[in-house]
Point group: C2
Chain length 199, copies 2
Amino acid sequence: MSTEKLDTEVRQDQIARAALNLVASHGLKGLSMARLARRVGLVPSAIYRHFKDKDEVLDAAIGYIQKGLLDNVTVVCKETSDPLDCLRRLLILHVKLIRENQGIPRIIFSEDVYNGHPERKTRVYEIVKGYLDRVGGIVRQGQQEGRIRPDVEPATVSLMFLGMIQPAAILWHMSDGEFDVTRHVEKAWKTFSEYLKTK
Amino acid sequence: MSTEKLDTEVRQDQIARAALNLVASHGLKGLSMARLARRVGLVPSAIYRHFKDKDEVLDAAIGYIQKGLLDNVTVVCKETSDPLDCLRRLLILHVKLIRENQGIPRIIFSEDVYNGHPERKTRVYEIVKGYLDRVGGIVRQGQQEGRIRPDVEPATVSLMFLGMIQPAAILWHMSDGEFDVTRHVEKAWKTFSEYLKTK
DNA sequence: TATATATGTGAATATATATTCACAATAAGT
DNA sequence: ACTTATTGTGAATATATATTCACATATATA
């Protein structure tokens, strides 16, 4: 077989993305080196030219997740200065992100990812906290500007923000796409934002 | 070795519970027949006297989950007739339930449980929908009694209800218990219930 | 162009894990 | 007490999967 030889950086990228997609389509259990290799058009042992471990592959995939989440925050913060509108847009982008890559929640919320990997566990924890902090920051700013009611903790809001999406995303997946995430999120946002608004 | 011989029903019970606990402490990947057997004080092959498969064991564990969830609804509905108070109590019980058995969310929300098991997937979906329906029923009743604002869909409320707990539970676990679920849920409930109340 | 380094291959190895089966011991029914 | 069905055991089997290694080939560099 004559397979094109590519730079290890390119391969690392390919492999990490493929891993994320594999988890999306076949779950964490479905992430095997053999399948991963096939997906990239390589032979299993070739993966080890670019990653020391299967663990390193997963860690790389987690890097993409972090980037995807934080990028969304950056984007919406540039689009608008109204904090509530900012949150609304982030909500939409977040739904879009995990709809397009179901591997994200599966990795973030799968215990099998951390078990026996305390460093990774704290890393993912930091990623989630980081994201929530950004959301909380938007809330705090909105409160300072007097556009969000001041009697609620930003940290509480940011977690409830996640809570609008996550259970819905799971139902969406369990129902094989039958459950309408977008609809739910819109409804939830309506009540949530009404509550947040200063009267 | 002289191991006590017990009725298959007793063993099934033991094994299913042990499976749930194993998932709680070691994740789904940690649920091996060997470990399971050791936990119950048996030898791996003995499990097959009481279950055809590892899959059957998991299915039995899922049965316990369903029971646990629905029992909570029954309990709180008996305790009080005020729908908001009913939801508040259910919230507390729910947190208690998953704190005491982290295996519940891990099984319900782990994709590896369904992958390649469409029947199980729809079963779990039905369980979750069933629970949400009960919650939605409480809301609907509250609306009929005029104690919950009528301009919000019960289905939306019930999912948001879950959303108060689930992300918090995950943070709780990722932080090794450092994150205070109860505190978050109390705060979240404060804002949520205030919104639901008829003004 | 020659040589070295990076990348890809195929076979081999090691390990974990589910599952089966022949046999042993215990409990239940007669 | 005797027989039988149920439950437990230990060894054996099968399979999946990560990982290694000697070898091959392409790409860059001198």
